[in-house]
């Protein structure tokens, strides 16, 4: 301890200590010199001899300082200071180096923040990695391996399975809150009592409902933290409070903690008991349930999958549609969806970009390190050891990395705002923040980068021999060895840039394909919202209300038309029914399913759909025993290939003899009901005046405007409330918002990958330019000799240009191979689109070659203009 404090004191007095050491050494030299003089040497000779005898003064001082115990610290500070001075001395070089690092580190840090939020951040459930979602595998009948399950299946699986500790089931629900405050529709789910225990989530206030309450249909709800705060002001007496949900009194029994959410959306505010009626528990056709299960701890997903597949086949063996298997997906994967693939591609891309940045910077430092040959030689002459030199070079690159990290994290912040839209709707809080994890990751990345970047020039610089360095003066030296190294760096850079360019091109093609998809409707100036119709249980009153509200909305200035549909187009993937065509035997139900929508009469004209044949709905289509339907092209092509379906008849399942026979009166061209990226399905449209045999309610409203759609929202509210003061409006959005939201993953990933590709191209060309310029500068003398011996400028131009081109070609070939591998992992990001690989590869290659040619041409040109007289005189 004593010794430690002594050293600490010395640290404080280190300038005095240094002076003391100088004095001590000087005294030693003087004593030696005196002795030598006494032996008869001349004054000067004696001093020099003493000096020689003493050895390297600087090295002795250095070793003594090591004994003082803070030499290393001092050294680091000195090197860092020196590094800073170097930055100031060469601002252009430094700005490029720091900007390069900033781009690389900023990119990867921003992507990492999204990767963390989506793929790493713990989900708000206990042991979330044991949770799986189970869907019906209807790939045979539906072409959809992730079809909603049925409460009946849940009941059977729960009774018979051997692989789960428990399974919970939930169904869509509607909840209109009224009473205190404005009527409001809140996103709700009907869930079985055990959902919370399966997830391992506990309420922050009160309790969740129990099995008894669930089975006896007791009116209790659990609400979200958000709803508690927003609607009830965070009141501490919320538990036990009665609220009016769908005009019935429910009791709030619990509040979930902040940050709790569950499929299908983070917006869900209310969980009510599923209370399946007994007949639903036996109904294997009512596909609207979402099932989550907790795997037993000793089982793997694969084992569970096999067991459940067998069980499902057994359970559905007697189903009139034939047996089907199940699809099981880990919860995290389910929630992340397509974003997972996009993020992984982006993470790789940003890593490639960072690598390019490092390679580029390494190249720059290498060139500079060589130019600093004289400084290195001088340091060696003054007693710097090899380790000392390496430490110095590394400290310098760490200084660069430090500044680069700061700049990079500053760059990452706006990028993170951009990336936030990538977080899927099913996942919790979306704010990406520069928290300690991202910071730690960024710093780790930059230290790794600094070591990678700094070590090569450090080793290279430290290897320079003393004589060479001094003799060659400031011109520096590099042998063939370091050319070889620089060249392979260029190849790496070019290859990565080529691969990124191609991947970017592929994504761009996929994205273009998506955004050029014909949605079947005119999307601009279309406002959509929902007016839940739960309160209108009587069919005639409901029809009257819908027509009245539509009339009111049509009366708003700036509105050209308004119509209703049971599900807003492009948003809902389900809503299907089995159907039977006239003349088919009843077991054909099993194979035929179609999307069904209930619309108001003018729906198709409002959204701008196109008629293929027949007619749209008309005023004459009133409530009747012989109602009509309009089908889409898919339906017509599937069931009536090559002929007109007009006049044909069909009916829906579940109603048996009581069900109406509907007559097809029109064929509408495909509307992408299920979403932009979802392929279309056969669809059947009914008019709401004739839809008394369905529980599809035309609660979605679409409004065609001539003015900016968002500007009429207040007027729309007033119009609806003029008809019914207690009618809530929900999810008010323009159709373009809906499309933007759906395209956000492809938009963001395409834009980011595109940006990465452009940066990579830029950096690679800078790298190429740098290396060639450096080579030209190094070989000015040689060029001079060649030209003096009769080489033309054309020869010189060619010789340098050829080298650049050769490097580019090798890099490009490697890049093409890389891209071919990468492209395979990107198929899921192309949304089923099969890109045309050849043009993408060709165009990307051409762009790369063109830019590379430019980057080579400038230094090669400079070489060809070397004046031999000046070049040789320089010697």
């Amino acid at each position: 301890m004593n010794s430690f404090f002594r050293k600490l004191r010395w640290l404080a007095q280190r300038h005095a200590k240094d002076a003391e050491l100088r004095g001590e050494i000087q005294f030693h030299l003087d004593e030696d010199a005196k002795e030598l003089r006494e032996r008869g040497l001349a004054e000067d000779d004696a001093r020099w001899a003493a000096r020689r005898e003493f050895g390297n003064v600087a090295r002795v001082k250095e070793s003594v300082r090591v004994e003082w115990g803070w030499a290393r610290l001092e050294q680091l500070a000195r090197d860092a200071r020196f590094g800073m001075r170097q930055i100031g001395r060469n601002p252009g070089f430094s700005a490029i180096a720091i900007a390069t690092l900033a781009v690389g580190i900023g990119g990867i840090a921003a992507i990492f923040s999204a990767v963390y939020a989506v793929l790493i951040r713990p989900l708000p459930y206990a042991n979330a990695d044991r949770l799986v979602m189970i869907w019906d595998d209807m790939s045979k009948s539906e072409g959809d391996p992730r079809f909603f399950s049925t409460p009946a299946e849940w009941t059977e699986w729960r009774r018979l399975n051997t692989v789960f500790t428990d399974l919970a089931c939930s169904q869509p629900s509607n909840a209109i809150l009224s009473g205190d405050g404005e009527p409001e529709e809140v996103p709700a789910r009907k869930v079985t009592w055990n959902l919370f225990s399966v997830l391992g989530a506990k309420p922050v206030l009160g309790r969740v409902f129990n099995q008894d309450e669930d089975e006896k249909n007791v009116r209790v709800v659990v609400i979200s933290h958000g709803l508690w705060q927003r609607r009830f002001g965070g009141s501490p007496n919320i538990v036990g409070r009665k609220i009016s949900v769908n005009d019935e009194a429910y009791e709030i029994v619990g509040v979930m903690p902040r940050g709790f959410y569950f499929m299908p959306s983070r917006d869900i505010d209310m969980w009510m008991p599923a209370s399946f009626p007994p007949d639903l528990r036996r109904n294997f056709t009512w596909h609207d349930a979402q099932i989550v299960a907790r795997l037993k701890s000793e089982l793997t997903l694969e084992q569970a999958r096999q067991s459940m597949a067998a069980l499902s086949m057994r359970v559905t063996a007697n189903d009139f549609r034939g047996p089907h298997s199940v699809t099981m997906i880990p919860l995290r994967e389910q929630m992340a969806g397509k974003t997972q693939a996009a993020l992984i591609v982006l993470l790789w891309a940003s890593a490639a970009l960072l690598l390019i940045c490092c390679v580029n910077l390494g190249n720059l430092l290498l060139a500079r390190g060589a130019a600093r040959g004289r400084e290195v030689a001088l340091r060696t002459a003054l007693g710097a050891g090899r380790g000392r030199l390496i430490a110095q070079f590394l400290t310098e690159s760490l200084v660069f990395a430090g500044l680069g990290t700061v700049a990079g994290l500053a760059l990452a912040m706006p990028a993170m705002r951009f990336l936030e839209r990538l977080v899927p709707e099913a996942m919790g809080a979306t704010r990406l923040t520069l928290d300690w994890r991202v910071l730690a990751f960024g710093i780790a990345a930059s230290v790794a980068a600094a070591l990678a970047v700094g070590l090569v020039p450090a080793l290279n610089g430290a290897r320079l021999s003393l004589e060479d360095g001094l003799r060659n003066g400031g011109r520096g030296t590099t042998g063939a060895r370091s050319y070889w190294f620089q060249h392979s760096l260029i190849v790496v850079e070019t290859a990565l840039a080529a691969a990124l360019l191609i991947c970017g091109g592929l994504l761009l093609q996929g994205f273009q394909h998506l955004s050029n998809t014909n949605l079947g409707i005119r999307t601009e100036k279309l406002l959509t919202f929902e007016t839940p119709l739960l309160r209108y249980k009587d069919f005639d009153r409901r029809v009257a209300f819908v027509n009245a509200e539509l009339d009111k909305v049509r009366g708003i200035p700036g509105v050209t038309n308004a119509s209703a549909i049971s599900r807003i187009p492009l948003t809902v993937t389900d809503g299907s029914r089995f159907y039977l065509l006239a003349g088919q035997s009843p077991d054909s139900f099993s194979k035929q399913i179609a999307l069904t929508r209930v619309v108001s009469r003018s729906y198709f004209t409002t959204v701008g759909a196109q008629l293929r044949e027949g007619r749209f709905f008309e005023t004459s289509d009133q409530k009747s025993q012989s109602p009509v339907v309009i089908v889409n092209e898919s339906f017509a092509n599937r069931n009536y290939p090559g002929r007109s379906p007009l006049g044909e008849r069909l009916k829906f399942e579940r109603l048996g003899e009581k069900g109406y026979w509907y007559t097809i009166v029109g064929v509408v061209k495909e509307i992408r009901e299920r979403g932009v990226a979802e392929e279309s399905r056969p669809a059947i449209y009914r008019v709401h005046e004739q839809a008394d045999q369905t529980n599809d309610l035309p609660s979605g409203i679409v409004v065609r405007t001539v003015v900016e759609p968002a500007s009429i929202i207040p007027a729309v509210r007033q119009a609806i409330w003029a008809v019914d003061r207690n009618q809530p409006l929900a999810r008010i959005r323009t159709l373009e918002d809906i499309i933007d939201r759906q395209l956000s993953t492809p938009t963001q990933s395409t834009a980011l990958l595109g940006a990465f590709a452009v940066l990579a191209l830029l950096l690679a060309s800078i790298g190429l330019y740098g290396v060639l310029s450096y080579a030209v500068a190094q070989r000015t003398h040689e060029i001079g000799v060649r030209m003096a011996l009769g080489a033309t400028s054309g020869n010189v131009l060619l010789s340098f240009g050829r080298r650049g081109l050769a490097l580019t070609l090798v890099g490009l070939a490697t890049g093409l191979a890389l891209a071919a591998i990468a492209a395979r992992s990107m198929t899921s990001l192309l949304y089923g689109f099969r890109p045309n690989y050849l043009p993408t590869f060709t165009v990307a290659s051409l762009i790369l070659l063109l830019v590379a040619a430019l980057a080579c041409f400038v230094p090669a040109c400079r070489a060809s203009r070397v004046n031999p007289v000046i070049a040789l005189r320089n010697e």
């Binding site: 004593n2 010794s3 002594r6 050293k7 010395w10 003391e20 050491l21 004095g23 001590e24 050494i25 005294f27 030693h28 003087d30 004593e31 030696d32 005196k34 005898e53 003493f54 050895g55 390297n56 090295r59 002795v60 070793s63 003594v64 090591v66 004994e67 003082w68 115990g69």
Partner: protein, 120 residues
């Protein structure tokens, strides 16, 4: 002539320089140059103390508290940094010395085994 090539020179063993410095200072305070000369002289020029080892060793011993340093006038009237043995240093010297003696005795015993005589 480079002194390193002198045939009669003996390499320092690890840690022995510390012991020699402590022993030299037992006779009284001294500066670095004099310590080096004293070791050289008393070892009949067999031991050459390199400055590159001497000064780090002196500062190391000072850091450990075995010797202390102060500036004083040398016999020739110049200011020099004099080192003196501390109480801690004295104790250390005794310990180091007995360690060294045990070591050298052991070396001798192995190198000149009494029972084998000159049979080899």
């Amino acid at each position: 002539m480079n002194r390193r090539d002198a045939p009669s020179q003996v390499e320092f063993l690890q840690g022995t320089l510390d012991l020699l410095i402590l022993r030299t200072l037992l006779a009284g305070p001294s500066h670095g140059h004099a310590i080096a000369r004293h070791i050289q002289r008393t070892s009949e020029e067999l031991l050459q103390v390199e400055t590159g080892s001497l000064y780090p060793a002196l500062h190391r011993l000072e850091a450990r508290g075995w010797i202390s340093a102060s500036w004083a006038l040398s016999d020739k009237g110049k200011r020099a940094r004099f080192y003196r043995l501390t109480a801690l240093g004295r104790k250390q010297l005794v310990a180091e010395r007995s360690k060294w003696e045990a070591f050298s005795r052991a070396m001798l015993l192995v190198l000149n085994p009494a029972d084998q005589g000159e049979t080899q």
